[in-house]
């Protein structure tokens, strides 16, 4: 994790504020009248989109408001500093990695603080969903994603995923197979949980820090090439109840890493390639039944490989940014649930999966 990210997360989010010193998650949520909630929600939009935390100030939760405002400030600082750094260095490869991480995580802090303000000022943590404090032993999902890609002819993908956990280790596998094209992608990502919920040990909340390695292989049959990347990344989640009681039920994630590998075109030599990994998410836990599971997250992923790639934007910003997505996982009955998942980058992708989850509890 970059020093910037670590500092931002630990100083601004994880450290309890003076007013919320007692375990914030269990702290009582001050009730707010419907009128106040509407006013706070409106305030979280105007002027809240500019002054993050405004909704919380209106709601009377100024400790949380100040923290969100500080997170916005650090986020803006990261973005401005990163962009200024790119301008000064002309995006030199020698300095581009930390600067890009700064911009992505700065944008993440900026976005998360705005969304958290909106969520907390309207909902105030009432009836909030709860995280899994003990991780499931096994999760399997099987589904379909429709694709709209202007450049490749495939229109649908079957996807099979599984995660098996043992103590701190999680073995993740995911296979994508195009339904109407000779195209396959396999991702194997072993992860080690440094902090957070495990199958054998309950955690205080849903916050975690994972170190992950990974291999991603992607074959384009008719286009006659295949790529193989090895990757190393750190991904963390922070339950925002630690920031303020009104944010109970929401979480933020951040990831930094890099991938190295190569692509081979049939009849040509393998050529080396690299890929920057970075991302962030803002999400909500859905439901709180002890044996249930569910969450929804809006996220940014800096990856340019795979089916979705980076965003094609209006104006002059295309090429470097990655893609956005929305993922939802919800228990329906017993160990069974559904995933709903959409992404937009160079391509549109959307669909769902059936999920089986064994173990884990809230």
């Amino acid at each position: 994790m970059t020093p910037f990210l670590a500092t931002a997360l630990s100083l601004l989010l994880a450290t309890p504020a003076p007013g919320a010193a007692a375990a914030p998650e269990s702290g009582p949520v001050p009730p707010a009248s419907a009128g106040r909630r509407v006013a706070a929600g409106a305030g979280a939009v105007i002027p809240g989109l500019v002054v993050h935390g405004a909704g919380h100030f209106i709601r009377g939760e100024s400790d949380t408001g100040w923290r969100l405002l500080a997170a916005e400030g650090v986020g803006l600082g990261g973005m401005v500093g990163g962009i200024a750094g790119l301008a000064v260095t002309g995006a030199s490869p020698r300095t581009v990695v930390p600067l890009t991480w700064m911009i992505v995580q700065g944008f993440g802090l900026f976005g998360v603080s705005a969304l958290a303000d909106l969520y907390g000022s309207v909902n105030g943590g009432e009836g909030a969903g709860a995280p899994l404090v003990q991780a499931p032993d096994l999760t399997v999902d099987l589904g379909y994603r429709a694709l709209y890609d202007p450049v490749f002819p495939y229109t649908g993908l079957g996807v099979l995923g599984a995660t098996w956990r043992h103590r701190g280790l999680a073995l993740d596998g995911r296979l994508w197979v195009a339904a109407d094209h000779d195209n396959q992608r396999l991702e194997l990502t072993p992860r080690w949980r440094l902090v957070g919920p495990r199958p054998d040990r309950a955690a205080q909340d849903g916050s975690f820090l994972d170190l992950r390695t990974g291999v991603a292989w992607h074959r384009f049959g008719p286009e006659r090439f295949q790529s193989l990347f090895g990757e190393l990344a750190a991904r963390g989640r922070l339950d925002l109840a630690r920031v303020g009681p009104t944010l109970r039920g929401s979480f933020a994630e951040a990831e930094v890493g890099a991938a190295l590998g190569g692509t081979q075109h049939a009849g040509f030599d393998l050529e080396g390639e690299s890929l920057l990994l970075a991302g962030f998410a803002f999400g909500l836990y859905l439901g709180h039944a002890r044996d249930g599971f569910g969450e929804v997250a809006l996220y940014y992923d800096h990856r340019h490989d795979g089916y979705v790639g980076g965003a094609k934007l209006r104006g002059l910003g295309s090429g470097t940014p990655g893609h956005f997505g929305l993922r939802t996982r919800l228990r329906v009955w017993g160990p069974w649930g559904v995933d709903l998942h959409g992404e937009v980058g160079a391509t549109w992708l959307g669909g769902g999966s059936l999920v089986y989850q064994w173990g884990g509890r809230r």
Binding site: G41, V88, T89, G90, S92, P93, R94, T95, V96, T100, L115, L118, Y119, V122, N123, G127, G129, P150, V151, F152, H218, F220, E223, F225, G249, H265, F268, D269, E271, E273, S274, L275, L276, F282, G283, L284, L286, G287, H288, L298, H304, D305, Y307, V308, G309, G310, A311, K312, L313, R314, G315, L316, G317, S318, G319, T320, F324, L326, G345, A346
Partner: protein
């Protein structure tokens, strides 16, 4: 999910929707621009219908008795259809200095710039065809061109850059791999045209992302310089320049590319985009938005026997290979330079041998680092 939990979901859902809505259509943005571009080179007015074959010139002026073209190639074929017989002046800017007009009786008229040519012609009523060509177009011999990109915000101070290009000997034409301007505004495009007035040779340019600051679908570049995706033959070689301003190739452009690759299969073929499909520094990704598309393009070019690719966007110089094809990145027009790379403003002079199918580049530095 509890009833009170529900209102919490709408806020991020609205944001997600807003994000997605903001990005809607962007997946097809490049194709919208390519569709607009397809109309370039066709115009009707003042009793004359003009159709430039393959859209290789912008029709800049069509008024009674006067037609002005801006070619993106050394040779042009223009189909005309006049409502009535009459006298016209055909002006061609950005022309080869020794270009000749044939097909109709034409009397040259003097103009101030070597690349500004004009002819007084008498057009018959009904269809006629004129050709613009240089005498040596078919002579398959080594020749020299210039390549550069990324003048961007340095354009107002780029006098020395253009003067140095003008001082190079025996240059047939220059190729510009995009980012001529900072934001793509018409006054910037006009300034680029004024800078070109010192050059004794024409420039053929594709657009870069910085030409899309004002409009992503109908940039001023189209109105002044014409298409950003085009291909032309010259002295046994083929040159294909393709619009990559949105970090992708539009599906329409992909279809045209297959035709151009087939046409250039047997001879020397130079391919140019503004954005490199892959950045030489992959972690930076100043390149195509999708690695998958980048590789699809590079594989397609390599299998079609493309001999050299040139890109801009990265403000440095790199000579490398991608899928076995020699490649240059040249982004030394004056936009913020990459630090620590040991090279500042520069352009390339490339000697092309269409018989041996080779290209030999020389880096020409401009300014303090000369």
């Amino acid at each position: 999910m509890s009833a009170t939990g529900r209102p919490a979901v709408w806020a991020p859902a609205v944001w997600a929707l807003a994000t997605v809505t903001a990005l809607t259509g962007c997946v097809d943005l490049a194709d919208e621009r390519a569709a607009n571009e397809a109309r370039i080179g066709q115009r009707r007015g003042a009793g004359l219908t003009v159709a430039v074959q393959d859209g290789l010139a912008a029709v800049r002026v069509l008024e009674p008795g006067r037609l002005e073209l801006w070619p993106q190639a050394p040779g042009l074929t223009v189909d005309l259809d006049a409502e009535a017989a009459g006298e016209w002046v055909i002006e061609v800017r950005n022309a080869l200095p020794d270009a000749l007009l044939s097909g109709v009786a034409a009397t040259p008229e003097p103009r101030d710039l070597p690349t500004h040519k004009a002819w007084r012609v008498t057009l018959p009523a009904g269809p006629s065809r004129v050709d613009l060509a240089a005498p040596r177009a078919a002579a398959v011999e080594p020749f020299r061109i210039i390549a550069f990109a990324d003048t961007q915000e340095a354009l107002p101070e780029a006098g020395d850059f253009f003067a140095k290009m003008a001082a190079q000997r025996d240059i047939e034409f220059g190729l510009v791999s995009g980012d001529l301007t900072d934001m793509g505004y018409p006054d910037e495009v006009r300034l680029f045209q004024r800078r070109m007035e010192v050059l004794p040779f024409p420039l053929y340019a594709t657009l870069g992302n910085h030409e899309l600051g004002e409009s992503s679908t109908a940039p001023a570049f189209h109105r002044y310089f014409g298409r950003a995706s085009f291909s032309f033959p010259w002295r046994g070689a083929r040159f294909t320049l393709v619009d990559s301003g949105t970090a992708t190739l539009a599906p329409r452009t992909w279809r045209s590319l297959h035709t151009w690759l087939a046409q250039g299969r047997d001879g020397f073929h130079l391919f140019m985009t503004h954005m490199p499909p892959l950045d030489v520094a992959g972690l930076r990704n100043n390149a195509f938005a999708s690695r998958a598309e980048a590789h699809k393009l590079l594989g397609t070019l390599a299998r079609a026997g493309v001999d050299l690719t040139i890109h801009g966007h990265v403000h440095s110089f790199h000579a490398y290979a991608q899928v076995g094809m020699p490649a240059f990145i040249t982004g030394g027009g004056g936009g913020i330079g990459e630090a620590f790379d040991g090279i500042d403003r520069h352009f390339l002079v490339i000697e092309i041998d269409p018989v041996a199918q080779t290209a030999l580049p020389a880096v020409v530095r401009v300014g303090a680092a000369e």
